[in-house]
Symmetry: C2
Subunit: 318 residues, 2 copies
């Protein structure tokens, strides 16, 4: 199992720069006052394809040799990785094929097609999507780019905190949401090299607390179809991301569905930016644990802004 190094992150940054935005780092008087911390929001909601995932996907796509690239790329994803892989493949002029659960929102499927990707629908189970993906790879010879358990993807996600560190200066802590662990792994990889004293916190929905339990038990525990509005965080870790989580993460902070919705609402209302529920998980965790962060310089990875504007969490409550 190849574990990416910080040199891989540096290489990834050079490789993906032409295809991604250098997203801004925003501050907020309101949230600083609420938490007592100095917060630096790395806004990947403004990223190409609407999420940080384009960093890892672009690193994989543009790192392929010409000979390999001609067979295209493939993956399974119900969300942002599907969009990102299609975007990156489209830019390189190669085919992306994405296996998506038939229950995924039509808007997401349409967006993948809009970037030129092929959508194959499967039953919404891990077994079904892995079986269909295997078929695709066998038939087309496409390169499988796993959403997070891929050294190229982890190195790509590591470019996010590289920019955050350059733009915000030294940080006492970085908080990012965790699903499969790609972003957290990249963050650990980068910060452990650039700023080893910076503590990395993973924020997780209580309703999908597999990472919390994994860290306590010392082994990967998988969730069984968790229900959370943070739809990007339902998946479980794999060996490459567990490597980084078990080695570098200071703690896993849990938040409830209500806390996620409330944090999302506050960010929209106060910062005037559109963020998705998964991103709100990190902010909810900081609001909840403000004693932990008060007086500290804290980076927050705002992972994405792809949200169905017609189905907002506070609508259900109303």
């Amino acid at each position: 199992m190849y574990i990416p190094t910080f040199d891989d992150v540096r290489d990834a940054h050079e490789r993906v720069k032409p295809w991604i935005h250098r997203t801004p780092v925003l501050t907020s008087t309101y949230f600083d006052t609420q938490t007592g911390a100095e917060l630096f929001f790395k806004c990947e909601n403004f990223q190409k394809a609407g999420a940080f995932k384009v960093r890892g996907a672009s690193n994989a796509v543009f790192g392929l040799s010409k000979d390999k690239a001609k067979y295209g790329v493939a993956s399974h994803s119900s969300g942002n990785h599907a969009l990102s892989l299609s975007y990156a493949a489209g830019r390189r002029g190669i085919q992306a094929t994405v296996v998506m659960p038939r229950t995924a929102p039509d808007a997401k499927k349409d967006a993948v097609r809009g970037y030129g990707g092929i959508v194959l629908e499967c039953e919404p189970s891990t077994a079904a999507r892995e079986a269909m993906l295997e078929e695709v790879v066998d038939e087309t010879g496409a390169d499988f780019v796993h959403p997070y358990n891929d050294h190229r993807v982890i190195a790509g996600q590591g470019t996010c905190s590289l920019e955050l560190h350059e733009d915000a200066g030294p940080l006492d802590a970085v908080v990012a949401p965790i699903g499969g662990g790609g972003m957290i792994s990249g963050t650990c990889l980068t910060m452990s090299n650039l700023s080893p004293q910076t503590k990395i916190y993973a924020a997780e929905p209580k309703n999908a607390d597999d990472v919390y339990r994994s860290v306590r038990e010392g082994r990967i525990i998988e969730d069984d179809a968790p229900q959370t509005i943070a739809d990007g965080l339902k998946v479980s870790m794999r060996p490459r991301t567990w490597h980084f989580v078990s080695k570098y993460v200071a703690d896993v902070l849990l938040v409830t569905e209500e806390e996620i919705a409330e944090a999302m609402y506050l960010v929209w209302q106060r910062m005037k930016i559109v963020i998705e529920p998964s991103s709100a998980v990190a902010i909810a965790a900081i609001l909840k644990n403000h004693d932990l962060f008060a007086g500290k310089r804290v980076g927050v990875i705002v992972t994405g802004g792809n949200v169905d504007l017609a189905k907002l969490p506070w609508m259900k409550a109303a």
Copy 2:
């Protein structure tokens, strides 16, 4: 009637700088592709108190002599001017009193109070609010800061396009929404001095087309209780703003309620920023008249981001 000069804008900028954000100028590949223009979005939705109005209000508040300031400031407004005046007065440590229609959203009234302002409720008519305002001024000696028919306010709003011009470079056109005309007047004042070749377009809801009709008839025509989701644009011009509109505005572009809602949705979805319906009027006008702007460098004033997140236009349609 004192008409402000460009020197007043320069002075205003120095005066308000410590109290406002220098808001970013954003670009969007999506909207450039849709329109064929190169668009520069001046994002006053990120401004203090959530809208450009804080520029004019701060210029008035911080321009008062000590002797005058001690009696406080007063105005009538159902929206962003009320918030902005309260914010600015709070920063200077003086009292703001705002007459608001009893039908204004509670969230707005609470926000005014949150900044330390006093809210006086009146019946929702021009006569009622002007009568109550007069009483307040008589009793308190407060300085009346009109939301737009005030030379200090117009000079303050002119600082917005000053920054836009500095950050975006030479522009062929600037498009801003128009209600009472404060922002458009400030824009005309600044651009006619800094860049006389830049055309200024006012964007207006078809349902509140008093400016469109005024320009055609050559005199101020007032709307009679217009119904539009662009709630910041319901008011009519006054002599100081008519001065600038009649002299400098290249054209008034009308858009329907559906076009406003659609543009607002697209901006949230594609740019991941929260803008209010009034701001969407300018973007709707550019989308609708893309032939007019194709191939041009166009500034867009995104006037504010204060919107009730529980009542979004596309919710009604769903």
